[in-house]
Amino acid sequence: MEEAKRHTSAEYERELQEIRDGLLYMGALTEKALEKGTTALVERDSELAKQVICEDDQIDRLDFELEEKCIRLLALRQPAARDLRFITTSIKITGHLERIGDMAANITEKVLILNEIPQIKAYIDLPRMVQIVRGMIRRSLDAMVSEDVELAHRVREEDVIIDRLNEQIFRELLTFMMEEPHKIQVCLYIMQISKSLERIADHAEGIADMVIYMITGKSVRHQPTCGPMG
């Protein structure tokens, strides 16, 4: 009896770890997609871009599998307290990651088009944004692994930087478009990419929110962020 109980508990532990690892794997995939998408943009490598779009299927499949696993655990193990919070937030986090994956694919589709038309200037701000956004995804999941509320709060604050960069790009492109109308097409695509990155940052913030809820049991969603901007 005791043996069976311990076995079940070890099994349960393993299943929880599987979910955790699944989330991390998905996170790593989205990061990779973003990284490759950026490389495809900067080096005008359309082959790489096509690869990214194909790989989004894997993220979608993982999202589905993870959700199944979470629901199965909820039904079979009836987890309580922390574990319950972990599983329910995992369902939400996988949703966020799936959306991030979709947006990465979206961005890459724009990259494919951009690679067909002449470049107007070297891409500097977009790779920077990607760098920050990737850091946000990574750190939000790091916060989950190490149960670090402080880190999760820092991720929330970084969203402000992304918002500012997005606005800056918007203004810059607006000037370009007003000066030279033939650049409007390129500018619009770049704007869409920037907007998508801003949305990805929002999703990363959402993950951080979920992590904070998972650790503390308190919801911080829909609260204004007190970032460096005040």
């Binding site: 770890q17 991390l24 996170g27 850091g135 990574r138 999941l141």
Partner: protein, 585 residues
């Protein structure tokens, strides 16, 4: 523990002593009592026989007198049991005395005895009866009765003495045996204390017990065991330290996963490669620790196949390192948990070199193919009939020639580069005047400077110290830099050539143009082979993409260096730092 054992020993001795004393006392008591009774009985029988010798009527008359001297009650009976006389008539019991045990015995055997409780006197009495016969017929009986109180009293006094003697006689051996048991037990106590210390891991020292009995042997054996144990532990420790230093000292990163797939151990190599401490990584799954998809996929494949798996991957975000990872199983003793061993080998440098090489090959091929394609194309056009058109033929031939020359230049440059890469040995260093070399080169480019209507400013002070250089190579360096300046400066611009002393050991040649300039981000890459800041324009101008690379390498071979400053749209300044000629060298 110690007290209980000695106590038990003491109790055992005590019990044995007490039992022995009791048995002895009981036996002595019984024998003594019997002997006393027998003695009293015989005494009474002797007295009875004496009385029997006295005529019966005298006996009857003086019975009380006899009784006092015999110390007993005397009864005289006739053959039918009637009392003829009694020294103490108050003690006569009811019933016929003939049926008393002693009288009956006397009737049958002549003498009889018994011990009986007299109800009338309320004490225990010893009776002795004697039958008096005349011509074989019993006429009378004489019976003597005496209380056994005397016997009882002497028995009591004996018992008292016995007990008084017993206590000290028992006490002394008991004291001895207590001392003995304590002395026997105390070395065992020492052994216990010592073995307890060994048990908790304090395996040192030895237990000293001088006795030569079994306990002494046991102590010697325990000492021997501890010594062997110490030796074994020392050996194991040494072995462990050796392995540990090997493990930590290895450059390769090593990670061991436990049966649950979590990081159990990792070495310093791994910490250095990932820039993270053990504390951050131990207990995590590889995915939690490294967040690497390639690694996770490789692990997954290893788990499915069970055979060693190799994979190349990039670890780290800010300082990515390319790692060659080998995943294999650690099989411990049978039934033990199976662990996974990950060995990471840093191949970043190798990768970079490989990349440089493949890039170089790709670039060379590309550079060679471009003029070749042109040559083949024009030759084909000529073959297909353009030869008829004299004017076009000359034009085409000129282009073919131009491309062939470019190929030639490229091959020359490549040869130069590979020559320089062999190092200083290929240089013939001598004492040279920089001024002279500079003027020779300037003379070569003057024609083209005029052609492009450029202004050439020469600022070379008099009496410059000589430099240490290879004459031909020096010319090549200056020509390559000047050539670039001429090429990238639009008509009407100017090129300034200045020479000034640097620190005590160098002379600096600055060639500044007012050309197109180079974006800041690209300056560090200028020395790379086939790197062109402005790809299309450079090729149009017949460059091989190797010019600055050659300069950079040559300067290095000379022990000097090249520095480039540039502002986009305003011009570029190339500074060449030459080492001075020193007599000693």
């Amino acid at each position: 523990m110690k007290r209980r054992l000695s106590f038990r020993l003491f109790v055992a001795f005590l019990t044995i002593g007490v039992i022995a004393a009791l048995i002895a006392g009981f036996l002595i008591d019984r024998e003594l009592k019997g002997a006393l009774m027998r003695w009293s009985e015989e005494e009474m029988a002797a007295e009875a026989r004496l009385i029997a010798l006295i005529p019966p009527d005298q006996v009857s008359a003086r019975i009380v007198e006899f009784a006092v001297s015999a110390g007993a009650r005397i009864t005289l009976l006739d053959a039918a049991g009637r009392v003829l006389a009694d020294s103490n008539p108050a003690a006569i019991e009811p019933g016929n005395p003939l049926y008393r045990t002693e009288v009956q015995e006397a009737r049958l055997r002549g003498e009889g005895s018994a011990v009986r409780y007299s109800r009338t006197l309320a004490i225990e009495l010893q009776y002795v009866a004697l039958a008096l016969t005349e011509r074989g017929e019993i006429k009378r009986y004489i019976r003597l009765a005496r209380p056994i109180q005397d016997v009882v009293r002497s028995m009591e006094s004996f018992r008292r003495i016995f007990l008084w003697v017993l206590v000290p006689v028992l006490f002394i051996p008991l004291l001895l045996c207590l001392i003995y048991s304590i002395r026997t037990i105390s070395p065992i106590g020492k052994l216990v204390a010592f073995t307890e210390k060994v048990q908790v891991g304090q395996i040192s020292g030895m237990v000293r017990i001088p006795s030569r009995d079994e306990i002494g042997v046991l102590a010697a054996n325990i000492n021997g065991m501890v010594a062997v144990l110490q030796e074994k532990i020392r050996a194991a420790d040494g072995e462990k330290r050796k392995l540990q230093s090997l493990f930590t000292g290895m450059v390769e990163g090593i990670v061991v996963l436990d049966a649950g797939g979590r990081i159990e151990t990792l070495n310093r190599g791994m910490e250095e490669a990932t820039g993270r401490s053990q504390g951050e990584l131990i207990g995590r799954t590889p995915l939690e620790a490294f967040r690497n998809i390639s690694l996770q996929d490789a692990l997954e494949r290893f788990r499915q196949s069970g055979t060693p798996t190799f994979r190349e991957m990039t670890l780290g975000d800010e300082n990515p390192v390319v790692m060659d990872v080998t995943i294999s199983a650690i099989r411990g003793e049978a039934g033990g948990e199976e662990k996974t061993l990950l060995v990471f080998h840093d191949v970043t440098r190798l990768k970079k070199l490989e990349r440089v090489r493949t890039d170089f090959v790709a670039n060379v091929t590309h550079e060679i193919r471009t003029p070749l394609t042109a040559i083949i194309g024009f030759v084909e056009t000529l073959e297909q009939g353009a030869l008829e058109d004299r004017e076009k033929t000359y034009k085409f031939l000129a282009t073919i020639r131009e491309n062939a020359e470019r190929l030639n230049r490229l091959v020359d440059d490549l040869l130069t580069l590979s020559g320089i890469e062999l190092g200083e040995e290929s240089l013939r260093l001598e004492r040279l005047s920089l001024e002279g070399a500079l003027d020779d080169v300037l003379a070569l480019v003057t024609a083209r400077v005029f052609e492009k209507e450029l202004k050439l400013i020469r600022e070379v002070p008099e009496g410059l110290p000589p430099i240490r250089a290879d004459r031909d190579r020096l010319a090549q360096i200056l020509l390559n830099v000047l050539d670039n300046a001429v090429k990238f400066t639009p008509a009407g611009g100017s090129i300034a050539v200045t020479v000034e002393p640097g620190d005590e050991r160098t002379l600096i040649v600055r060639i500044a143009d007012t050309g197109v300039g180079i974006p800041k981000g690209e300056i560090p890459r200028l020395g790379e082979r086939f790197y062109r800041a402005d790809k299309t324009r450079s090729r149009e101008m017949g460059g091989t993409g190797l010019g600055l690379s050659i300069v950079k390498h040559l300067m290095k071979a000379h022990g000097g260096r090249m520095a480039i400053e540039s502002t986009l749209g305003h011009g570029t300044t190339v500074s060449l730092h030459f080492p001075l000629y020193e007599e000693s060298t």
